[in-house]
């Protein structure tokens, strides 16, 4: 089957745990983000009301999803934005290549877009001879090193400034070595300004798409999103099909909770509403705007009433900032486009619960992610559901790879367990042996080994509870 393709989060996580620099970088960043978010929500009632409203808006949007997508398409068409549909990443890449080639575009500057990461668009375009340059500072930093984002909002969060200083001095022409953050930022500004000026096309993601007005909303602090979407003559936006909402009024609370949850900001520097290409009499702005709507498994997730909640996500990253696992192992250990708790439920649903079996188990189910999620996605419940899907083929669901995570040893263990529990006499014998001889069992015994790797071996009581109850004359309870 696909056992050979299986990716081991466990191994990658173990490796990450041994890197003190990585751990320190994440710990510092996550502590900062947690504190900043908290400071934005001083009133728990306001927070809960805003979460409830945001959840309701996202749920409503999903309930009307096909109608809203059609309305969005019609509104965009009216505004002069061309809409394209892609079922797969490959289709989306080909669509974008076609749009670029039709305009003879050879260089593309990119604002931040996780969907384009999902598509591996940069590598695809490079293979076709088109330069795709990331312009978000964090994305630019990791692109210089050929890395992938380790966080969906702060892609270079795994690096500290010494590492970035070394990298800039080696990779940017005529750059001197400096650890001053303002100077490093100025270096990137200089390089990227020229790129914005020269680029044939710009690409962006979409934070919210408004069906009624045909508007693409972009949230950012740097201005690279505006540069990418307003300076080049061609703008291509890519979005997952779940990003649509009905009205612009719906965007206001979602935007308010997005920036607060993501970076602890009440407002971002720019909130950019794009409703069309350069209009009549306008002197700047792109001549063409295209919107690519990507499915890539989302319509399958949509089909399941419980799993559909995954699509409420507004990509704030609060779940990763608050995750005890993510904070310790960092984003790269997940070997997935979307790391952290949301990635643990999204990636297995996109790629299959069998191949990404490790991800759905890489959680302590502490519940922090569900508690901070601005749109109340029950991430822990979905993780449990996916664990069950991974070992059961017969749940009548549309989950990819269901049942393929089942292993013979686990199967055998559960059968044995059930067999013993169903037979009281056998159970008594088993507990008698366990209480008398459990102590003698070596910590390296199969199954026990998995537990004792990082914990001391539990020592069974000398007599089981039911034995003691019988001896002490308690007949019931």
């Amino acid at each position: 089957m696909h056992a050979e393709k299986e990716i081991h989060f466990r191994d990658a996580a173990a490796k990450a745990l041994l890197d003190p620099q990585l751990r320190a970088n994440f710990r510092r960043a996550m502590d900062g983000l947690i504190a900043k978010r908290l400071a934005q929500f001083p009133d728990p009632r306001d927070l809960q009301d805003l979460r409830d409203l945001s959840t309701a808006i996202r749920s409503r949007s999903l309930l009307c999803l096909p109608e809203l997508l059609e309305q969005l398409e019609a509104s965009c068409a009216k505004n002069g934005i061309k809409v394209h549909w892609a079922e797969t990443c490959e289709q989306a890449n080909q669509l974008i290549l076609g749009i670029l080639q039709a305009k003879g575009a050879k260089t593309l500057v990119k604002g931040k877009s996780m969907v384009s990461e999902e598509m591996h668009l940069n590598a695809f375009l490079e293979s076709k001879g088109i330069e795709a340059l990331e312009s978000d500072l964090g994305e630019y930093i990791i692109q210089l090193d050929g890395e992938t984002p380790s966080h969906i909002i702060m892609p270079a969060i795994h690096k500290n400034k010494d590492q970035i200083a070394r990298q800039f001095s080696q990779k940017i022409k005529d750059a001197k070595y400096t650890e001053d953050v303002d100077e490093l930022t100025a270096m990137a500004r200089k390089v990227l300004r020229q790129k914005f000026l020269d680029a044939d096309a710009g690409l962006s993601g979409v934070n919210f798409a408004v069906a009624e007005t045909g508007t693409l909303c972009l949230v950012e602090n740097e201005g690279n999103g505006r540069m990418s979407t307003h300076v080049p003559p061609l703008h291509i936006a890519v979005m997952g099909l779940e990003k649509v909402v009905a009205r612009l009024e719906d965007v206001a609370p979602l935007y308010a909770i997005l920036t607060r949850s993501a970076t602890g900001q009440a407002v971002s520097t720019y909130f950019n509403l794009i409703t069309g290409p350069r209009g009549e009499g306008e002197k700047d702005g792109p001549q063409e705007v295209h919107l690519v709507i990507l499915d890539n498994g989302r319509s399958r997730i949509y089909a399941d009433p419980q799993l559909r909640a995954t699509l409420r996500c507004i990509r704030c990253g609060a779940c990763m900032n608050h995750c005890p696992v993510y904070t310790r192992v960092g984003g790269h250990a997940y070997e997935a486009v979307y790391p952290g708790p949301i990635g643990k439920i999204l990636t297995p649903q996109m790629e299959g619960v069998g191949v990404r079996h490790d991800l759905i188990h890489g959680s302590s189910l502490c519940g922090a992610c569900g508690e901070v999620c601005p749109v109340e996605i029950p991430i822990p419940e979905i993780l449990v559901r996916l664990r069950r899907e991974a070992t059961h083929e017969d749940m009548g669901s549309t989950v990819v790879g269901k049942g393929t995570g089942r292993t013979a040893s686990e199967d055998w263990a559960w059968r044995l367990w059930a067999g013993v529990l169903k037979r009281p006499a056998l159970y008594r014998v088993a507990t008698w042996f366990a209480t008398r001889f459990g102590k003698a069992l070596p910590a390296s015994a199969p199954l026990i080994r998995n537990w004792t790797q990082s914990r001391t071996k539990p020592v069974p009581a000398r007599r089981s509870l039911s034995e003691r109850m019988r001896a002490e004359g308690v007949s019931h309870e």
Binding site: W85, E87, P155, A186, R226, E249
Partner: protein, 227 residues
């Protein structure tokens, strides 16, 4: 409805077909917007809140009156040694500024050509851009702009300094109430935006750095037109 992209009608049909096949599950949840309606202040408080919110992210304010603001801008340009200021000659704020501008000292530069004929100059030789605003947001701090033919989009983005004219009476309670007051929910121009400060990033070690891609400074000329 026919697909506007005839090259791939199958994807569209397939995607919408799958979404429809999933069917809806249950009634639409009600939207309780009380949390947004609680955000209300009187006009003077709105000014204070907007200012506090924007100053916290390094926006600078210049106080002015309805008849003094062009002079306030001029004094600022001279003090900062700006050699020129980009403006929209046909915009309301731009033409008022030009009417009051003395020919010597900092030069007013009109953005009156398509960007294709202006790009190099815009990126290389302009010290500051001046725009009007269509309002402000008190709750978080923020300016609302509607670029267009009279005030092109890049004026508030490319020059290293952005000077924006804000009339105190146009400040709304929140972004939500501004959307309603300005009628943005019904129709929007090709571009509209909210700006809360100069361009910034925290991508290097969570350390804030200003002026990464857009303006390094945002100057709000706040006109006190409250009764």
């Amino acid at each position: 409805m026919s697909s506007p992209n005839p090259s791939a009608p199958d994807s569209r049909t397939a995607i919408l077909g799958r979404l429809r096949a999933a069917g809806d599950s249950g009634p639409l949840p009600a939207l309780d917007t009380a949390v947004l309606e609680r955000r209300q202040w009187d006009p003077a408080e709105r000014v204070t809140r907007l200012r506090k919110g924007m100053e916290a992210v390094h926006t600078e304010f210049l106080d002015a009156k309805s008849d003094t603001w062009p002079a306030v801008i001029r004094v600022f340009c001279e003090r900062e040694g700006l050699k020129n200021l980009l403006y929209g000659p046909t915009s309301e704020a731009g033409s008022a500024l030009a009417a009051a501008w003395a020919p010597e000292g900092p030069q007013l530069k009109p953005y009156d050509r398509p960007v294709e004929a202006f790009k190099q100059e815009l990126f290389g030789d302009i010290d500051a851009g001046f725009t009007g605003t269509v309002g402000g947001v008190a709750e978080t701090g923020g300016l609302l702009l509607m670029p267009g033919p009279a005030e092109p989009r890049l004026m508030s983005l490319v020059p290293p300094v952005h000077i924006a004219l804000l009339r105190a009476s146009t400040i709304q309670d929140s972004f939500w109430s501004a959307v309603k007051a300005l009628g943005w929910g019904r129709a929007l121009p090709p571009n509209a935006l909210m700006i809360s400060g100069p361009s910034k990033t925290a991508d290097i070690e969570q350390t804030l750095a200003y002026g990464v891609h857009g303006p390094k400074r945002l100057i709000v000329v706040l006109v006190d037109d409250l009764k």
